[in-house]
Symmetry: C2
C-alpha cells in the first residue's frame, strides 16, 4: 500500500492506520488493540482488508486518548463512557421516528448524570494538581534561599 493509499480511494478521504496513528501520536498496535477491545471500529476497509478510518473515527480516537491521558481512566471505564455517549447519539439519529418520551428521558438523564460525575472528578483532579503545584512553589522558594547563601548566580534562577 502506497503512502497516499486512501487520499483518493473513496472521495470521502479515509485514512490508513499508519497515518491515523502518526497524527494521534500512538502506534498502530494501539489502534488494533482498541478495535479488539471494542472501543474504536474503523468505518472502512480496502479489498485486501486494510483498515480505513474516517474523520469521525479520528475524533473518537482523540476522545479516547483524552480520557486515557488527561483523566487517567482505564479502557473499561472509557468503554462505559463511550457507550453512554453512543446511546445518546443513537437517540438523536432516531429523533425523526419520534421515540417514546420515557426512552428519551432515560437516556438524557443517564448522560447528564455521567456528565455531572465527570465534572466532579475533573474538579477533584485540578484541585490535587493545584495542591502539588503549591508544594513545588514552596520548595522552589526554599531552594532560592539556599542558593542565595551559597552565592549562585542570580541569572541561573527561574522564577
Amino acid at each position: 500500500m502506497g503512502t497516499g493509499m486512501s487520499e483518493h480511494a473513496g472521495h470521502e478521504s479515509l485514512l490508513g492506520i499508519g497515518e491515523v496513528a502518526r497524527r494521534a501520536g500512538v502506534t498502530t498496535r494501539t489502534l488494533r488493540y482498541y478495535q479488539e477491545m471494542g472501543l474504536l471500529q474503523p468505518s472502512g476497509a480496502t479489498q485486501r482488508g486494510n483498515r480505513l478510518y474516517s474523520v469521525l473515527d479520528v475524533e473518537r480516537l482523540q476522545h479516547i486518548l483524552e480520557l486515557r491521558d488527561v483523566m487517567g481512566f482505564d479502557l473499561e471505564r472509557i468503554r462505559l463512557i463511550l457507550h453512554t455517549e453512543d446511546r445518546l447519539a443513537e437517540l438523536r439519529a432516531e429523533a425523526q421516528r419520534q421515540p417514546p418520551v420515557s426512552r428519551r428521558r432515560e437516556m438524557i438523564r443517564e448522560a447528564m448524570d455521567l456528565n455531572t460525575r465527570l465534572q466532579a472528578e475533573v474538579n477533584e483532579k485540578i484541585g490535587l494538581l493545584q495542591g502539588y503545584l503549591a508544594e513545588l512553589q514552596a520548595k522552589a522558594h526554599r531552594y532560592r534561599e539556599v542558593a542565595d547563601e551559597v552565592g549562585l548566580d542570580p541569572s541561573d534562577m527561574r522564577r
Copy 2:
C-alpha cells in the same frame, strides 16, 4: 504478628506493612514491589524479618503515590525524581562538614531545574483538565436544552 505489633515495639512507633498499606490505600504487594524496585526501603525489621516503616517512610510513600496518581508518572520517572531529592537531602545532612561550594551549586541547580520542569508539566496538565472541563460544561448546556424540549423535571437538573 498481632495487630498492635509495632505500637510499642521500639519507642519510635514503627508500623507494620499491613497498617501502612491500609492507611495509604494500597496493597502490601505494592509496598513489596516498591521495595524491590528501589523506591521505598522500610527503615526497620523485626527479628523474624517483618518489614517496619517509620513516619518518614510513610511520607515518602505518600509522595510516590502523589506522583503516580496525580501526575501519572511511571515508576522509573518517579525513581529519578526521588533520586534528585535524596541527593539534596544528603547535601543538607552533610552541611556540617562544609562540602565544597561547587558540589553544593551543582545539586541545588539540579533540584531547581527539576522543580522548574515539574511546575511546567503540572501547569500543562491543569490546562488540559480545564479544557476538558469546558467541553463537559458545553455538553451539559446542550443536554439541558434537549431536556427542556422533552420536558424533564427541572428538579432533576444539576448545575
